[in-house]
Amino acid sequence: MPMGHTATEQAGSGGLTATEHRLANGLRVVLSEDHLTPVAAVCLWYDVGSRHEVKGRTGLAHLFEHLMFQGSSQVKGNGHFELVQGAGGSLNGTTSFERTNYFETMPAHQVELALWLEADRMGSLLTALDEESLENQRDVVKNERRQRYDNVPYGTAFERLVAMAYPEGHPYHHTPIGSMADLDAASLEDAREFFRTYYAPNNAVLAVVGDIDPEQTLAWIEKYFGTIPSHDGKRPPRDGTLPDVIGGQLREVVEEEVPARALMAAYRLPHDGTREADAADLALTVLGGGESSRLHNRLVRRDRTAVAAGFGLLRLAGAPSLGWLDVKTSAGVEVPDIEAAVDEELARFAEEGPTPEEMERAQAQLEREWLDRLATVGGRADELCRYAVLFGDPQLALTAVERVLQVTAEEVRAVAQARLRPDNRAVLVYEPVQGAQQADDTAEDNDAEGESAQ
């Protein structure tokens, strides 16, 4: 039977609280009430991602996520989408290295429907899964890969950086989209086996956030999910342990039809959930987040050698996180000039650390980003699931911003010195080549639109 406890209200969490419960079958439940708007989010995280995939079956977790929308025992065909949208809800699912999530944001009076739908597929997907939907979604996912990776300039950069930063055989060596060959090879039996292995109530966290009656919501959860059998078929992912630093500079030069030279790099950074990861986040923000960052000021404003220059952070819990440098050069600029300037800025930062003003700005930026995440019931539900699945404690979501604000300048400097160094990075350089029929005949069609069509 469900057991619950109420957390005390946390400072800095905007008055948000969350309660935790566990069903007898192991399903963990997090509830958070907020009656300001008549909406509620249902978010379900399964503790399975591309890191659980085996050689020859990359992309299976994501392909499988698509199959979760193809019907289950009581839900026909596209019924999951149809019922949620017909109820005025919105929905989706996403797959990353470390988890697969499914979410519905509903008008408050339709929450029960979302719970019923999620329970139906958690308990009975295999009764509806067939060859036809597998073949169809295989084609859809291959087109997703083409659209997002293969048919856009620099589209495979992330895949290439990840493949260098996490060595062959490492569970994070490949990205969730997978390879075309492996997508082709996935069989119905692979999909069934994947479901039997990873889709179980005791391998998931369910968060319901928003305009809810917690007691009623919990009763519905018990009713719909309570009889889904648990099992311990799950296989843990392969060990993701790696040394803190790569220990040498890796490098790949890509000659492709891209519009400009680019310098990208992936740095190995501390694991998500640690104070050092928050310090790294601040370091990357000072160096390459926004228009007052050091790299923007140096490369875009002063040297005028780059169109755009910045850092991004991919937080990972089961392997070192990844700091992603991305610089697109201005016309006529050579990559070594950019690289020298980047190295100089990183070295100076490692030595001096951030100024008090830089710390204030970076912390203010991360605070706003965090407030943005918590501004919607869907964002809040996702964060509660994240901390529950990856760190065992959803309450940590409510105090995350405080932890970022507690980091000191010296900690930021220290993590930069330890990690943002040439021997801890995989470098990816793009050199443009002209396509065979890409004549210089662009004058006639030299247009640029201010927005994409969709």
Partner: protein, 468 residues
């Protein structure tokens, strides 16, 4: 696995909905500062990040001949230093507030968007006011923005979706119309922009009396009147002549343009024409019908192209207002919307995918929408409103769109009532007239050597290939 074999799940029937709770699109409070600047404000409890949207009446059409892109450069240059701060200082001060400031120019005018935690709203409003009131437009910074813009152009040309969008505008609109040309200018026009021209454009078109500020968020404990009076209220400037808007015309003769991309693994498609804007009474029916055609993956297009055939990751139909003017006494559309179908399909199935797409349009025209389709669409479009407008930024964006399109402040609120009243017959008529199979301009960005012949065989109009 032993537990799983011995126990099975208990199934329950699909639950029915509880009692719906009332929700209405928020009504803003409208006021005018002493300098003539219009303010719309809206209190949204719980929204700690406040959104401020500024509309400047500087339409692209007002750009001087040969200087396409100057509105974009001006918009970007607003945050490159003021009478109080250098460019670098301004960026730093803004980020110290935890704020973001974006500015962009589009056909109806320039939009400046500020987002900031409410605790730092007054300070951020001060910076925003400085940028609007006293931009420095330093020569060196404007020159840098021009060079930066020139460097961006090849990236936009390389992006299949953006390339398709430019080609469609060029096809649809007459060459002399500003809408036929890229919003942010071309290499030729951007090269001619300098600080003096930017200042002249600013002085001609930017002033408080033609500016609107929309402020949305949790304003508990904020003395917004005081904050506005001390910031945007200190901006001075004269009155302006109203600027008439030229009528929008387009040639939608059915035809195909292939932008050649040798070796492309997908074909980006963009199929469009222009149609009614929000002032037209057909708008709700057009929204409803367009959703049924291609609003989501269970709409007609994706039901075939994605969920049956697997040709695509998704194809969408949409209507996006280009520009509207104030209504005259007669009522009806005052401007136009781009009506289009967009997506990408695998290269080798480009012909079959387009054939199916046209079949979907043909069937829709012959058989119309079903009542069930219409009902689900209304339930979705009306039902998602409280979700869609959860954040301050979403509310502010829609209110600013309404201002920009000369619509009443309660337009969106009324739209939900009108959607609910729209029947199947009206929605069918609207979508069929929005997407007539023989009056659509098709742009395909893809490998001409592979797709030209199959596309010619479809008979959807003359096929022309241009270089990528």
């Amino acid at each position: 696995m032993s537990d799983a074999v011995t126990t099975t799940m208990t199934f329950h029937p699909q639950p029915s909905a509880g009692a719906a709770k009332l929700w209405a699109f928020p009504a803003p409070e409208r006021a005018e500062l002493s300098n003539g600047l219009t303010v719309l404000r809206c209190h949204r409890p719980g929204q700690q990040v406040v959104a401020v949207e500024i509309n400047l009446a500087a339409p692209l059409e007002a750009e001087p001949a040969g200087l396409d892109g100057i509105a974009t450069i001006m918009a970007r240059a607003l945050s490159e230093g003021t009478d109080k701060h250098t460019a670098e200082e301004f960026a730093a001060e803004l980020e110290r507030c935890g704020a973001t400031l974006d500015a962009h120019a589009d056909h109806p005018g320039v939009r400046v968007s500020l987002e900031v935690p409410v605790s730092r709203l007054p300070k951020a409003l001060g910076l925003l006011a400085d940028a609007l009131r006293a931009p420095a437009f330093p020569e060196g910074e404007v020159e840098r923005l021009v060079r930066n813009r020139l460097d961006e152009i090849p990236h936009e040309l390389a992006n299949p979706a953006r390339r398709a969008s430019m080609a469609l505008s060029k096809e649809l609109f007459p060459a002399e119309a500003r809408m036929s040309r890229p919003r942010q200018g071309t290499q030729e026009t951007v090269e001619g922009i300098d600080a003096a021209a930017v200042r002249a454009f600013y002085e001609t078109h930017v002033r408080p009396s033609t500016t609107t500020a929309v402020v949305v968020g949790d304003l508990t404990g904020v003395d917004l009147d005081k904050a506005l009076a001390e910031t945007l209220g200190t901006w001075t400037g004269g009155a302006a002549e109203p600027r008439p808007m030229a009528p929008i015309t387009a040639d939608d003769t059915g035809r195909v343009v292939i932008v050649d991309r040798p070796g492309a693994v997908q074909t980006q498609l963009l199929i469009g024409r222009i149609g009614a804007d929000r002032h037209d009474r057909v708008w709700p029916a057009q929204v409803l019908g367009t959703y049924c055609l291609g609003g989501t993956l269970t709409s007609r297009l994706d039901r075939v192209l994605r969920e049956e055939k697997g040709y695509t990751y998704g194809v969408r139909a949409f209507g996006q207002v280009l520009r509207s003017a104030a209504p005259d006494a007669s009522g009806g559309a005052t401007g136009a919307a781009m009506l289009a179908i967009s997506g990408s399909v695998a290269t080798e199935v480009t012909g079959p995918a387009l054939e199916d797409l046209w079949k979907v349009l043909g069937t829709l025209k012959e058989e119309g929408l079903t009542d069930a389709e219409r009902d689900v669409a209304v339930q979705n479009l009306v039902g998602v409103a409280p979700l869609k407008y959860e954040t301050a930024a979403a509310v502010a964006g829609t209110l600013a769109d309404q201002v920009e399109q000369h619509l009443p402040d309660d337009f969106q609120a009324q739209l939900y009532t009108r959607l609910a009243e729209t029947g199947t017959v009206e929605a069918t008529a609207a979508v069929v007239s929005a997407f007539p199979p023989d009056r659509l301009v098709t742009v395909l960005v893809g490998d001409a050597s592979k797709i030209e012949e199959p596309v010619k065989a479809l008979g959807i109009g003359e096929v022309r290939v241009i270089q990528g």
